[in-house]
Amino acid sequence: MKADRCTADPRGVLTGTHFIDGDHACCEGALAAGARFAAGYPITPSTEVVERFAARVPKVGGTFIQMEDELAASITLQGAVWGGAKAFTVTSGPGFSLMMEHIGYAVMTETPCVFVDVQRGGPSTGLPTLPAQADMMQARWGSHGDYEIIALCPNSPQECFDLTITAFNLAEEFRVPVMFMMDEVVGHMTEKVVIPPADEIEITPRRHTRKSVEDYLPYGTNGDGVPEMAHAGEGYNFHVTGLTHDERGYPNMTPPVQDKLVRRLQSKIRNAADRICLFEEEQLEGADVVVVSYGITSRVAQRAIESAREMGLRVGKLRLITAWPFPEKKIRNLAAKVKAFVVPELNLGQMVHEVQRAADGQARTFAVSHAGGGVHKPEDILKVIVEASKCRIV
């Protein structure tokens, strides 16, 4: 069963053309998606998202609460989800680190929700006001245990709006926490953002059960691996636990139950990867080199790609809009046809390892690393493209 679709509640949709930054656009996306609850703790460069939410939400019907820390914020929002709300939290590096246990809790309890991380330079307090893309692996692996989440990477304020809606829709469809991986530049850049009329915005509603109390099995599945949800106060008397649990939601800490549960949590995402993986692609046909980038770096890479083409090189572009699940199949298929991938990112090498793994020796992989605090110089990316286009596959 695929999730139902409906259109946005017009009360949350600020239809029109706006000139706003990515943080504000993300907030508008959340409101348009139906989010009526946010819990947060202030941290640069993400705070503007919740500041706007705090100003907007009482006029739309909902709640913002500033919690005492990110440990609290990341679980308060999950309480709100089980109370019936669509909910999210917003943070940056140090706060994201504190939220990790509750990403695992959302995975295990299948609580649909969105975590926005406006990435800044790290480790630790690092560069509070400057960009990085160094939380990509943390988003994937930061909580303990085996699991799959979804992560999206916008590269403009318009996408901060559009993809925040996608993030909420995916969260509801798969009952999974979705990481919305912005960065300081995308968060703070101001551009035109067009917000369509509410009836043009597709919304995935909660997979709320329509079963009777007697028939409802909280963690029973319906063929595609995603169970139906009930909310507190509806008479279902259900149990939710972060312990390994059976279909009734009851703790059952035996290896067979663990195996069944953890594999289902993984496969509900992996089996749908083709549908979840979004990209922007350009001139991949006949390319010798493909530049794989995401977020703000994709905009710098664009310049380098164009310069390389002017030099007569055959360069394709693959922008990852979905970072997780990683689009393995796409990279694998391309690797059979191209000489090399060039992967610029604002970290010392994270997604590049995924590209290399998926290429599996069929094509070479070149990193263009950057420790964060600014964006790449297009020339630095260009240099690697030139080098890559000369390489031989060994």
Partner: protein, 311 residues
Amino acid sequence: MSDSLVTEITNAGNPVDAILRTDRMPHIWCPGCGIGTTVNSFARALIDSKIDLGSLALVSGIGCTGRVAGYVKLDSFHTTHGRAIPFATGLKLANPNLNVVVYSGDGDLSAIGGNHLIHAARRNIDLKVICVNNLIYAMTGGQTAPTTPGHSITSTNPYGTFEPSFNLPHLVEAAGAVYVARWTTFHVRQLARSISEAFKKKGFSFIEVISPCPTLYQRRNKLGDALDTMKYYKEKSKVRNGSPTSEAGLTMTGEIIVGKFVDRDRPDYGTMMRAQYAEALGDEYVEQDQREQDRMEHDRTENDQPEMVCS
């Protein structure tokens, strides 16, 4: 004495079945553990106060006490260690019609969750917190908790504790709780009455129950078995309703001041929030129950068939 005590405990067991997930029995608690006794009183309070069980949600953290959520036939959430209160805060704010109970251990609520405890009391979130204080981290094998009295032997203080311990009623009163009481597992009726009273309050209510952990605390400290502990609770408890909480500190074998310490009124978080928005925003303020939002989405999918597209 011990005969009458046994009858008392058995009788208290009667109301429980209606509220328990009997399909999850037997429970994991040790013989002589006090947690089950507190659940008896809780069940009795639910029945006595005629609370609508359908609108009652129970949230626990992690620990022996945290397992309560798994045994009650209610919408129940077994969350993460220390975070029952912030989870419950989100639940309550999203659906203000819910009665939300937090049921957890002393370590969960006052150590790892201590920050949330004081802030929820400060905000006066409408939660009923039942804290089973067995003076120890039981689930993990009897390590020192912030509530462990001085000179106790624990697995992490094998030569005796020397850190000062928290006086929880005093802490939560100072932080702003509107209702604060303490009982022991000997005081099953008083405990049930306090829980019923807390349900009538709107705001942050905190009930501490001193409870034996014969397996780890009593045994290591040579305090006898469960029955000896009951005898101690009976003999050394002093009922002092209205006692200043500052005088309610605990020691290992000394007096236990019990009673209702605080019963006051101040507006809860939801009331203050709505009043502030209404004042600042006037007609622009939209008060909305989150479930209404959910229902609307449903209506839009069910009724607006033409608009429905399946991806």
